[in-house]
């Protein structure tokens, strides 16, 4: 907006200068012959600050607004290069640009702080244009000074804000590929401020693993006019990684062309602490899992193995006794009895184990399955992101409440999410797409679905999927789905798996809406 106004102003004033130029040399006769106007009067009537310089650059004439602003006589103004009219910080630059322009005769345009009568410096845009005669000789310079202090202040404010929040911004004209960056964005990318920005330049900094994502974003931006946001990483020259969070909004530029305005925030510090937290959490979970499962596995193996070993030895001894000549029938009978004893012992171990698994507390409450899902998805998000899983949630808006145990249902969803993520670990030729969906199955049931694009299911072993100790993972325990099934069944629901039409598998469970009959709750704690 500002730009457009400036352009309009520029042309308006340019015509005015031309008028002034002519006026200085000859009296202009307007349509009304009664009103003869002196050049100075015209220049004075312009509501901006205007000055005229000799071809050598000396201040010749200034209009009233200049006098009013500076509060100095013309003679003092001629000394602007030495008397503090221009702010000391800007002076060297201004002198350089100015003398270059006067020497070359090219129009100039710079910004500088100029002192007001009361000693306050305000930012001005200073533009000078040479007026030439027919032979091209410079007759004089016209200078327009525009007060841009408010805009400049806003810019400084913005830049300071960007620096403090480590947020850069950019605009991208899609058709022309013109990209404009804020200073802070240059700093974030570690490029020299003002250096021309191209997509190629950006690609040199983006983390190799995120390049595909970048291309996808560019393509998406080219094709549609939607807001979008994404996270990506940069690899800096010192090999450090920066995490950026970008938000882009489509707009139209002056010519109605698609232009994106985007903010890019450096979230490295936050990400590093998040990752540390996630790592600590996952390590803790792993240790907890390893200790409980490891101890459990060892104790199962040991406890079952002992009677099993004895059974085999006893049976062998029994055969030996019967094979002897004469057969030791009494001994064989006693050995067989011991075999039965040991067999029962093994069965007891299994029964104890089952009791252990089913002894978990079961707390019923009325639940919003969407909230339950969102909570566990949020908890799993960083783990999923680390495995480069692209998560998509489709949560139904009209889900009726269910009665159940929040933590246990979350355990089921967590198991399904983790299985889905694990199933996609080796997938590199397609996106690791993971869909979580909640929906109403019918009037009485709601359903949660987790669909992955992973290795898929082995048709032969579909019926074993939910069995305890059945696993396809190298270091899996084979308990996840088995526990999930028992939880879902306790909620009077069912859980099942299907192969996708494309790659991957879909796991779903559905549970009834409304309250679970209380009589069923009583049966839950009778396992021991």
């Amino acid at each position: 907006m500002i730009d457009r106004r400036r352009v309009v102003m520029h042309y308006a004033l340019r015509s005015a200068w031309k008028a002034c130029a002519m006026a200085k040399d000859a009296t202009i006769t307007f349509n009304s012959p009664a009103e003869e106007v002196t050049p100075l009067e015209i220049v004075d009537s312009i509501p901006g600050l205007v000055a005229m310089l000799t071809p050598a650059g000396e201040v010749d004439v200034v209009n009233r607004p200049v006098f009013e602003y500076c509060g100095q006589p013309l003679e003092a103004m001629k000394q602007w290069g030495t008397n503090g009219t221009v702010h000391g910080d800007d002076l060297p630059r201004v002198v350089r640009v100015f003398t270059q322009a006067i020497a070359s005769g090219a129009p100039y345009d710079f910004e500088a702080r100029i002192r007001r009568f009361d000693g306050v410096y305000r930012w001005f845009q200073v533009r000078g244009l040479p007026l030439r005669d027919t032979s091209g000789r410079i007759l004089r310079w016209y200078v327009l000074l525009t007060d841009i202090d408010d805009r400049k202040r806003a810019e400084v404010f913005l830049a300071e804000g960007q620096r403090l929040s480590q947020t850069g911004s950019f605009s991208w004209k899609v058709a022309t590929g013109e990209i404009t960056w804020s200073d802070e964005l240059y700093r974030i990318y570690g490029f020299k401020i003002g250096m021309p920005v191209t997509l190629e330049l950006i690609r040199t900094r983006v983390h190799p693993e995120d390049l595909t994502l970048l291309e996808k974003m560019i393509e998406q931006a080219r094709n549609g006019r939607t807001d979008f946001e994404w996270q990506y990483r940069l690899v800096m020259p010192d090999r450090s990684t920066k995490y950026l969070h970008a938000v882009a909004h489509p707009a139209s530029d002056q010519d109605g062309q698609l232009e994106y305005i985007a903010a890019v925030q450096d979230v490295t510090a936050r990400r590093i602490s998040e990752e540390a937290l996630a790592r600590a959490r996952s390590e803790l979970a792993k240790v907890a899992r390893a200790t409980s499962l490891g101890v459990l596995t060892a104790s199962i193996a040991h406890e079952v193995n002992q009677p099993l070993s004895a059974i085999i030895t006893n049976a062998s001894t029994c055969v030996r006794m019967l094979d002897a000549d004469p057969p030791n029938v009494a001994g064989a009978r006693e050995t067989a009895r011991r075999t039965i004893r040991d067999g029962n012992r093994a069965a007891d171990v299994i029964a104890r184990l089952r009791a252990l698994f089913s002894k978990k507390e079961f707390t019923l409450e009325v639940l919003d399955l969407n909230a339950v899902t969102q909570e566990i998805v949020a908890l799993s998000l960083s783990e999923l992101q680390r495995n480069r899983v692209v998560l998509q949630s489709e949560l139904a808006g009209d889900l009726p409440p269910v009665t159940g145990d929040r933590v246990q249902l979350q355990e089921v969803i967590f198991n399904l999410l983790r299985n889905a993520s694990d199933a996609m670990v080796g997938v590199d030729d397609r996106p690791r797409q993971l869909l979580v969906r909640t929906e109403r199955e019918n009037a009485d049931r709601v359903r949660v679905t987790v669909r992955d694009a992973g290795v898929g299911l082995d048709r032969q072993n579909m019926d074993k999927l939910f069995d305890a100790f059945y696993t396809t993972k190298r270091d899996g325990m084979g308990m996840g789905l088995s526990i999930s099934r028992s939880i879902v069944e306790r909620h009077h629901g069912r859980i099942w798996a299907e192969s996708n039409a494309g790659p991957g598998a879909t796991f779903s469970f559905s549970i009834p809406v409304g309250p679970i009959p209380t009589s069923n709750c009583l049966t839950l704690d009778t396992s021991d």
């Binding site: 193995n305 002992q306 070993s309 085999i312 030996r320 001994g331």
Partner: protein
């Protein structure tokens, strides 16, 4: 002695395993002795017959590997390890420390029995060697100090005359002592005497 029944010790904290091994070992013709812990086993006095130890790795209190370390001197009692979940480092440690076999439960009875048979054979050999050493030590102890001096000089390769020179006695006297040594040590030749001296660790007493 050679016909004394061999003893197979079993140390395992699991009663089913213990009982089943006891029956199997008895059926195979050996004398089983079962213990529920390493401490109980250590309280048992050392037998004078061939024996071996079937030892569970994971025991309450003193572990199987620790018991093995305490029995390191007992070459006459080879150890066969049995384990519910033998991992590789554990197996390596047990084998390095001299175990003759490491069996994972459940194991085949004939594998265990064959291993026990081999272990008892080793035990028998070790006991025989020990017995021979005992006899040898007794024989050596029966020599007079002078005879022991003569023996050490003779086995270091000196002639009678030189031995006489060393000890300041006549060649005839040396000959008499030497005859006594050969008889008491039950050596039938000089090389035989040298071998026995080496086993006893008798060093040359020569001043040269």
């Amino acid at each position: 002695m050679p016909d004394a029944p061999a003893i197979v010790f079993v140390v395992d904290d699991d009663v089913s395993v213990r009982d089943s091994l006891e029956l199997l070992i008895r059926t195979a013709g050996w004398q089983p002795e079962i213990f529920a812990s390493a401490q109980e086993f250590l309280a048992r006095s050392r037998p004078a017959v061939p024996c071996c130890l079937v030892l569970d790795v994971t025991l309450p209190g003193l572990s199987g590997l620790e018991l093995q370390a305490r029995l390191a001197e007992r070459t006459d009692m080879p150890i066969i390890f049995i384990s519910g979940h033998g991992d590789v480092p554990m197996t390596v440690q047990a084998m390095k420390a001299g175990a003759i076999e490491f069996l994972t439960k459940p194991f085949k009875d004939d594998v265990l029995l064959a291993t026990i048979r081999g272990a008892l054979e080793r035990s028998r050999v070790a006991l025989r060697k020990e017995a021979e050493m005992g006899v040898l030590r007794d024989s050596y102890a029966s020599l007079t100090p002078r005879e022991q001096q003569v023996m050490s000089l003779v086995v270091s390769g000196l002639l009678n005359k030189q031995v006489g020179g060393e000890l300041g006695i006549s060649e005839i006297t040396v000959k008499a002592h030497r005859g006594q040594v050969m008889r008491k040590m039950r050596a039938d030749s000089l090389p035989d005497l040298v071998t026995k001296a080496a086993r006893l660790g008798v060093r040359s007493a020569s001043k040269r």
